[in-house]
Symmetry: C2
Subunit: 217 residues, 2 copies
């Protein structure tokens, strides 16, 4: 059955790979599953046809035969559970890898989203300059803990897993902030993620959409 995902017709980040379809593309590339992409405009995302697929009017969605999913974490978990390559076989190791997926989206990402909101939605507010360091410190609080746990290992728990895919994707949002420079092991972890062939293919595919050039062009 054909897998179809949705992505922004034009990503707000101009192709830096931060839109969440990149995470799903990456997962599909890791497991070697081909997929089709349906592009949606900002207007179409808030219309009934798309809201039926995604109640929060966002991308990505995932369709495969009768199945329709939204929410990046759930889509990636679904892919990882059905195809080899993103979760270990051992049941306990598998549960731990899934733990890191949730840690990425529920513990590490929220302060990062708050930092983005502070920059993008409150950049013109009188409190912006004084408040930003507080929000940055909430991000650092999580990164301190993550950095301590990662130590000098390559990935969070044994081999690369969907947990790393999600954590690297979350940390990529900090790339332009400079904060990651304070954590050499996390910066190196990010590079390990970005240099995976599957990530490179996913990145190139989303970039092609946003520049209008085919990925091999």
């Amino acid at each position: 059955m054909t897998i179809t995902i949705t992505a922004f017709e034009r990503s707000p980040d101009g192709g830096r790979g931060l839109a969440r379809d990149t995470r799903v593309r990456w997962a599909l590339e890791e497991v070697g599953q081909p997929y089709e992409v349906r592009l949606v405009s900002f207007r179409a995302m808030k219309e009934p046809a798309h809201l039926a697929l995604h109640p929060f009017g966002q991308i990505p969605t995932y369709e495969e035969g009768d199945l329709a999913l939204f929410e990046t974490g759930a889509i990636i978990l679904h892919i990882a559970q059905r195809h080899a390559g993103l979760l270990p076989d051992d049941a306990n190791a598998r549960a731990r890898a899934i733990t890191w997926m949730f840690a990425a989206v529920n513990t590490v990402e929220p302060p990062i989203l708050e930092l983005e909101a502070a920059r993008l939605l409150e950049g013109d507010k009188p409190w912006h300059d004084e408040r930003l360091p507080l929000v940055e410190d909430r991000v650092r609080n999580r990164l301190n803990q993550l950095s301590a746990r990662l130590g000098d290992t390559d990935w969070l728990d044994g081999a690369f897993s969907a947990g790393d895919l999600m954590m690297v994707s979350v940390l990529l949002r900090l790339k332009s902030s400079g904060i990651l420079d304070e954590y050499p092991n996390l910066a190196a972890y990010l590079v390990r993620g970005e240099t995976r062939p599957a990530y490179k293919r996913a990145f190139a595919a989303q970039l092609a959409v946003n520049t209008g050039k085919p990925p091999t062009g």
Copy 2:
């Protein structure tokens, strides 16, 4: 094998059930699994023994034989996958229920956490009064969409599932804010969750810890 979870020795909410161990207790009650609780102090949560279990120094954790997990969403998914009562049997319906778990923690909860941060961590800041309505509107943005999707159904997708358990738990954080009064169907959804016998047992158990009285006393 005995299941052991961790919880606050004294919850910051004084027993209102908002600490995340309540979510795990609720899941274990729904599937009828007994469990033991190890209480940890704020100081102990930041010490090496607990950090080895939970790298972000939080509660709850979950131990069962050789398996040690952290992160509430992952713990509840693990429980739901191993015991009947929290996920439908049909594969597609199961994937959709898991989607709602992720939607709860990654789409609905982040603005609610931001609202809590605005109240608890920035209540004394000069920008507090002017900024609060902005943050509340980010919460409303999500609730508008969630309310539209729920409509007049009892649960988010067919029968009660781990997705509802997680969404109700996330919305409970808003209870004291008054915002939920603007959404009668979400307020009723919350009541449906809170009146489930399993939730009541979970709530009573955490309250007993925080009042020092046994749940049947």
